[in-house]
């Protein structure tokens, strides 16, 4: 523990910390663009300059290790002047197009400009032109005019994802971020640079111009892409800004997915598959309960399922690895003793998908395989056949044959025609319920409800009690 004084306030800092980290931890705001806790220190934006007692020059606080009895001042006129100067330089060639910039509203440059900048530019030079909407990859656009060359994205590819696919080329005021001409920026973690960018230089094509960010609000959820179970924020439309003329369905749409910083599981990053989670969830849904291929009410379907269950001699259940721990517990309590239980892999790696790497991506492409196996053991269906009734719980039309057994299906995605079940009951997706998953290390990660479920769709956890 090192005690130092920031703005006449005694602050306790850890050994090896920088002044910026210590200040931020204690709620003292020092502006910063190029600093990111998970990346190396670049020290090139120069907005975090602070006054250190006994030193003539201002020091960048991001590169200033704490020392005992250090006296730091962040609100002197000298520091404010330096910040104003740096804001002047940064905004010198930054186009004033917040109106059409997707970052506006969560842009640090915007915030700092309001707080530390000057209302009117003193420069009368025309802004310099650089390539706009430079294609980094089919997922990401780069607007070099907006770029402030903090280098966060470059450092991300060098230090976190290790793909080294981005770099700052040219020198001086011509410097700009580029990829190799020959290769797209196809890093499996590439979308992280969008959130990393303190300004709106890196744009997600998927989210491009879909909504202003202040119309949205994040809800904590969990990525179901693999057994890492990264925490994510799902951005839905804020209740106050619900749309009417443009379509009610937009109010029930997840606009984008961003990482939710969870140091235990994923840190501040998620992979591109996680960024695509909302598209995964926007697939065709099963919305209508069916009995032998024709629509029925929920009650009828349940009654039929109960009848099948009571009539069967040797029933079995295939349990979804997308089920939350709570649903598994409900299943275990209601039906567990009566059925032979098999664990089910809802999704397997798609062809061409990154299978496993050292950073986040895991080979098992289901979120709660660990939870299922902890409760029921690792028992894939197919070892023993000869059941006369199968309760198949989970998405993805199964390629396993059911051997003439009668089938009760609980599914979320797909078309009605896809399922040849005796009873089909639609169940809610991860976005429509709250609960928790246990990831491959057994860490429990909870998720909240993002949207209300459609009317005829049931929560699986509530179904089992009514089935028993």
């Amino acid at each position: 523990m090192i005690e130092l004084k920031i703005d006449n306030k005694m602050v306790a800092a850890n050994e090896g910390e920088t002044v910026l980290q210590a200040a931020l931890r204690h709620g003292i705001e020092i502006p910063h663009f190029c600093y990111h806790p998970c990346l190396s220190i670049a020290g090139n934006c120069r907005i975090c300059l602070v006054k250190v007692g006994g030193r003539p020059k201002l020091m960048p606080s991001c590169n200033l290790a704490v020392a005992p009895n250090m006296e730091i001042e962040t609100d002197t006129e000298e520091v404010a002047e330096a910040r104003r100067a740096v804001m002047r330089f940064i905004t010198l060639n930054h186009p004033g197009e917040c109106g059409i910039c997707d970052k506006a509203g969560e842009c640090r440059l915007q915030d700092y400009h309001v707080r530390y900048g000057e209302p009117e530019p003193i420069s009368i030079e025309p802004k310099s032109r650089k390539p706009k909407f430079y294609d980094l990859s089919p997922r990401i656009l780069l607007d070099n005019e907006r770029c402030i060359l903090c280098g966060c994205c470059v450092r991300f590819t060098q230090e976190v994802s290790g793909s080294h696919q981005l770099g700052i080329v040219e020198r001086g005021s011509h410097a700009r971020v580029e990829r190799l001409e020959t290769g797209a920026f196809d890093d499996p973690y590439s979308d992280n640079v969008i959130g990393l960018c303190p300004v709106g230089a890196l744009l997600s094509r998927d989210f491009l111009y879909r909504s202003r960010v202040w119309y949205l609000e994040p809800v904590r959820s969990v990525c179901t892409g693999c057994s890492r179970c990264c925490s994510v924020n799902v951005w839905r439309r804020n209740r106050h800004w619900h749309l009417r003329a443009l379509g009610e369905e937009l109010n029930r749409t997840a606009y984008r997915v961003t990482p939710f910083e969870n140091p235990e599981i994923n840190g501040p990053w998620i992979c591109n598959k996680g960024y695509d989670l909302h598209r995964f969830m926007a697939r065709q849904r099963v919305l209508q309960p069916m009995i032998a291929g024709r629509g029925a009410s929920v009650e009828e379907a349940l009654a039929e399922a109960r009848r099948l269950l009571s009539e069967s001699i040797n029933p079995a259940a295939l349990v979804s690895a997308h089920a939350s721990n709570e649903e598994l517990a409900a299943f275990q309590a209601a039906l567990g003793p009566r059925l032979a239980v098999y664990s089910r892999e809802d999704y397997r790696p798609a062809p061409g998908e990154a299978v496993e790497d050292g950073l986040l991506i895991r080979g098992v492409k289901n979120p709660n395989s660990y939870g299922v196996q902890a409760l029921f053991g690792h028992r894939p269906y197919g070892v023993i056949n000869g059941h006369d009734l199968l309760l198949v719980w989970g998405d993805n039309a199964e390629d396993t044959s059911f051997d003439g057994a009668r089938v009760i299906r609980l599914a979320s995605f797909g078309t009605q025609q896809e399922f040849t079940a005796d009873v089909l009951i639609p169940v809610s997706t991860t976005f429509e319920r709250s609960g928790s998953f246990s990831n491959f290390e057994g860490k429990v990660n909870r998720f909240d409800k993002v949207f209300d479920k459609p009317e005829l769709v049931q929560h699986a956890g509530e179904l089992f009690g009514r089935l028993a």
Binding site: A82, A85, V86, F89, S173
Partner: protein, 427 residues
Amino acid sequence: MTEPRVFFNFEVTADSHTLAACRERSGYRALEKALLSMAPADVEKEVTASGLRGRGGAGFPTGAKWFFVDKKSRVVYLCCNADEGEPGTFKDRWIFENSSHQLIEGVLLAAYALNVRHAFIYIRGEFDLPYRRLREALTEAYAAGLAGERILGTEFCCDIIVHRGGGAYVCGEESSLLTSLEGFKGYPRNKPPFPAVKGLYQAPTVINNVETLATIPWIISHGGGAYAGIGNQNNCGTRLFGISGHVNRPGLYERPTGYPLKRIIFEDAGGIRGGKALKAVIPGGSSTPVLKGFEIEQVSLDAESVIQAGSMLGSGGIIVIAEGTCMVRLLQVLTRFYAHESCGQCTPCREGSAWMDRVLGRIVAGQGVKGDLESLESVTRGIMGNTVCALGDAASMPVASFLDKFRDEFAYYIEHGRSMNDGRLEV
């Protein structure tokens, strides 16, 4: 010539740069003396005793710099900073062309003192003849057993690697030189950590200027005390001063520190061209503040005196400007240079140098407006001291001083759209 000469102690002829010629004038004696009779610590002690200061511009005492290096470290690197890019400075080039062996000897001595296995000479990419001379000299030295394995039969081994730069002024900054040497674009590094702690490939590294290293053989053979006796007390020794600009005999002069500036301009360099009056002097390379003609009366060529006058001695490149030169256009030449050479890493320098260049370009094109000078000044204030390396300061200091000292000329140019003088740089 009564004063001792470290460099200009021989006559330059067609083959004066060869090993044989060098040996004739007692080259490599100091190396022999050091390797055979002195411990590495003794060499360092001599250098410390000599009071030698770095000749690259900052003037940091060489002995102190060596002292900070952890010599017990597994690897210590030595880099010779030969990326001479400061406009107005051309001393290292002379050393390479005429006295490479002196530098090699100096490098080996420093390597011996610092326990260095690999020494690098980072030479400017544009230097073609100097590079070839240095390679020749190195080949000769390797052939004569003066470099490489088991030098002079002792246990001391040192390889000297010559690394050509790619054309970047900022690589003369020590940390950016290291980055460049590691094969990256030459971005300066944040300090701390200093190169003496974490330098080339994260190992402790000493970076010395060519002139500094080339002085060391003289110090070893004559003793540190002898060197300390030359020139001023605080800032001793001789220095190479390059005089350029509007003088009759521009060129390189070796003078002890404390030599009057006026004398070197008006006597040694033969006075101003065409008999014109002296308008201004930039005393230490283009990045130092300008001095007006009348300000140099009492100035002598040592760091303190020049600082007292309001400028810096820097790398010793004296640029003389005669009456009738357009200072606005001259400053634009400088800002263009710094805008071109800004590496693009940190914001104030990247944007500020280009901004100053654009404003001055506009003024020179006759489209200056009223607030331009004030905004230029605020830009220099914004850059000064806020950048990663010293290039930002270097870019803003001339602007600030030009504006300070020749404001009327700038105001006239903005008001009338043309120069107060005839607008030429040449006289």
